[in-house]
Each structure stands twice: as C-alpha cells, then as structure tokens.
Amino acid sequence: MKKKPSLTRRDALKAGAVALGGLLLPSCSTPLPPTYGKILRMSDNLTYVAQRTLLPGQALAKEYSYSDISSFPALGTVDPGDSSKEYYSEEYEKLRKGGFADWKIKIEGSVANPGYYSLADLQLFPKQSHITRHTCEEGWTAIAQWTGVSLGTVLQSVGILPSARYVNYYSYDGWADSIDLMDAFHPQTILAYGMNGKNLPIQHGAPVRMRVETQIGYKSMKFLNKIVVTDEFSEFGDPNWSWFTGI
C-alpha cells in the first residue's frame, strides 16, 4: 500500500537537495564513521575522505553493451526461504511461495512520509536499466543488466529530511548495511527488481536488491526488506569489513 504524499514533489525535491547540500558543503561538520581507535578503520576513513574529496562524486560507472553480459556466480545467501539454512526466514519463504505478490519494503526514519512500498508501487516510478560490472571483494567480476528504480527518486518521494545523512538497508537473511547520501543519490544507485531482462532471480536477491555501482559488490545487498534513513552513522554487525568500499 502506498501512502498518499503529504509533501508536493517540489517540496520533496527541495528537501532532497538540501540534504545533499548538507553533506557536501560543511564537510568538516559531517562526522565520519567511527573508528574506535582502530588503525585499519582510520585508514578506511582516509580512503573515504580522499575519494569523496578528489573524485567527482556522481561520475557514472562504465556501462556495457548487451553482448558483454557474462556468467554471474551467486554466493552468500542464495535463498532465505531454505529452511535447512541458518539464515532461514519463514516470512521470506511465504512471500516466495506467493510469487512476492505480498512483498513490501518499509521505508522509515528521517523521512516526511514513512511507509510501505509493494513491488507494484516501486514499478510505478520511472524504470531504469543499466549494464554494469559487478566487482566482488573476492577478486572476480561479472557483467549484468539491472533494472529498477532510482533510490534517489524513492527517497525524494518519501520526503527525505534535510537532517538525513545515511541510508541504512536491511535484508531477509539478516544483513544490514548503509551508504552515505552521495551514493544513495548517485544516478546509477537503484532498487533493482530485474536482471538481464527478467525478474530478479532468487539466488541474486529476489524480489528487490540494492545496486550501488560505485562500490564493491557486498554493498549491493540482496533480499531487501527495509530502508531506514538516519541522521547518524549506525554500526552494524561485523565491523571487520570496511564500510566504504569505493576501492
């Protein structure tokens, strides 16, 4: 069910722009992810600041042609509805059996209109497709076509507030991660519901996964079920893995 917007589109765009500006302008007042005094985390933050300072933030990742699409391994969780696995989600199994007709993503936090979006709701937004290279931290790469809706558009339609700084996202198999607004509003960052011209396959994160084309593959989380916009950085799970993986 989609909530009726209480903000006009223009208000939402303005709020989004103000939020982005807040990230860009007073960079000193933007707190960095915590390092807990860990030297590796400090070096990761140095990489983050350097990349944000030296690189044009909204540059597009290279797009390929249809004939470049390659074989694509699926790993990690390949089906949260598999009851034999520790990451099993009963809710996901039910949704999968119903062809994801009842699937809804919750969007909440620092937004004017928190609410639930079904697959059909998301598909009302302008459809966007690109063929890009997935870079896995393990060392391999693969090229696929991704179809979905711009995350920035969705965030603007829920009225992201000027205080917002991070977009947290959660999955059915128990993962959580976040990106800053620069990546959230990157033109190629999408909530993807299609892969290579078909519905997103189960093993690649059906029904909807994140695609962040300017970072390493694990930021493109599969099996999304919730998005929370926050003003502060949230610490998730295993801090041994670098939060920012633009390199």
Binding site: K62, S70, E137, Q203, I247
Partner: protein, 244 residues
C-alpha cells in the same frame, strides 16, 4: 673526491617503502589465496575460463558449483550458478590492511618524487651518465655481474649502470604500474576515470598485470638482497641506516 653518503630522506623513504611493500606483499598474497584465478579483459569469475590459476589455498580449483542455469534460451547464454563450497576468505582485514600499506606507499612515494626532483637526486645519481652507456662499459659491467664480482658498499648513491637501471625500472615503471592497476580494480575510481580501464584492457587485465608486476617486484627484492649480501650486508645496512 669522497663518495656521497645516503641522505636522511632517502634512508627514511627506503624503510617506509620497505614496510609498506611487506604489508602489501602479505595482504596481496592473502587476496590471491581467496581468488587464485586470473583473467584478461573486464570480466572473470569461477563460471568463466581463467587465463591461469595459481595453486595456493583450498580455493584453488575447488569446484563446488551447483544449479547452473542459463540466463536466456539462446545457445551459449551466460549462466549463473550457486556456490556450495565454503571458501577461504580473510579479505575483511586483508583489503583494509592492503590499502593502509598502499597509503604509506603513495604518500611516501610522492614525497620521495618531489624531493628527488628538488635535490636533483634523480638526475645526479639515478640517470646513467653518457660514458656509462658505451658498449665497452656495458660489456664490462655485464662481465662483472656474470661473475658476481660486485664492488663493495660505498655507503651512498654511487650506483653502477645496471643498479641505476633496476632502480629506475622499479621507481618509475613497476611502482606506478602497481598503483595504477590497483586503481583500475576500484569501481569508484574507474567511474571517475574510465580511461584506466582502456589503458589496462579492463578490470581483470589490470588485476592480472598487478599480480605479474608484484611478482617482478619480488624478483627485484631477491636480486637486491643478493647484491647487498655480495657487496657486504653489514656495511650496506649501515649505509642505509646510521651512515657509517
């Protein structure tokens, strides 16, 4: 005329680069263990053919792919498959430590380049002089090297032609190639500078060149150590630390 001693900034950068090289080598090896397959072009993964495979770690030719499904009905369609094998993967700290090492290398390297130009270290000590380039002189030095007759340590930058060439190759070719191919594996940097992908024939080619160049650097290190031993290990170590 007394031969010049190593300058403090040369010694400092030498040891900082040594430290970063050691960090990069260990973590680079760890990353090779996680995915010991190398490819050419933009794409390469367990479901595509490899250019070569390095027999390290349990991930070497592990197999363990299930549910191979084509993406389309066309013949030769690319496929997807599910991994059923728990691979070795310590990239969580491996990647971060690699980039910490890379930061040391890049920052110290930049400082070294600036000082090397300003103090004329490169033109005075690393660029071969004309008389060194005569075929007679080259023949002479070749003979010396073949017989492993290495002159004793001078405690400073009085280098022979082969020594200069090796250093120039490492400083102005191998390290820049390492850094640029490293950048080419980054989705963020290649979005901003897509020419890198053209320059190195794709993200996976860059990874393969990165690996081969690191191999060449290790060969350099071995030769470097042999030469230092041959010319007096203790004296060379003194020359690169306390001076005398």
């Amino acid at each position: 005329m007394e031969k010049p001693k190593h300058k403090a900034w040369v010694k400092g950068s030498h040891w900082f680069v040594t430290l970063s090289f050691f960090i990069l080598l260990v973590t680079g090896f760890e990353m090779t263990m996680v995915h010991p397959r190398f490819y050419w072009g933009e794409v390469g993964n367990d479901l595509t053919p490899a250019l070569f495979e390095v027999p390290v770690s349990i991930n070497y030719k592990h197999g363990g792919w299930d549910q191979i499904t084509p993406f389309s009905d066309e013949p030769n369609s690319p496929v997807t498959g599910v991994r059923t094998f728990d691979i070795f993967n310590q990239n969580s700290w491996g990647r971060s430590l690699h980039f910490l090492g890379a930061w040391i290398l890049v920052l110290v390297g930049l400082l070294y380049l600036i000082l090397g130009i300003l103090t004329k270290h490169f033109s005075k000590h690393l660029l071969p002089k004309k008389k060194e380039l005569s075929s007679e002189a080259i023949k002479q030095e070749f003979k010396q090297h073949i017989n492993l007759k290495i002159p004793p340590a001078t405690f400073g930058p009085s280098y022979s032609l082969f020594q200069k060439s090796a250093y120039l190759l490492v400083i102005f070719f191998l390290f820049p190639v390492m850094i640029l191919t490293g950048f080419t594996m980054s989705p963020g940097i290649t979005a901003a500078y897509p020419f890198l992908l053209k320059m190195f024939f794709g993200a996976q080619s860059a990874r393969t060149i990165h690996f081969l160049a690191s191999f060449t650097l290790v060969l350099f290190l071995l030769v470097h150590l042999v030469m230092i031993t041959k010319s007096g290990f203790k004296n060379q170590l003194k020359g690169m630390t306390t001076g005398k």
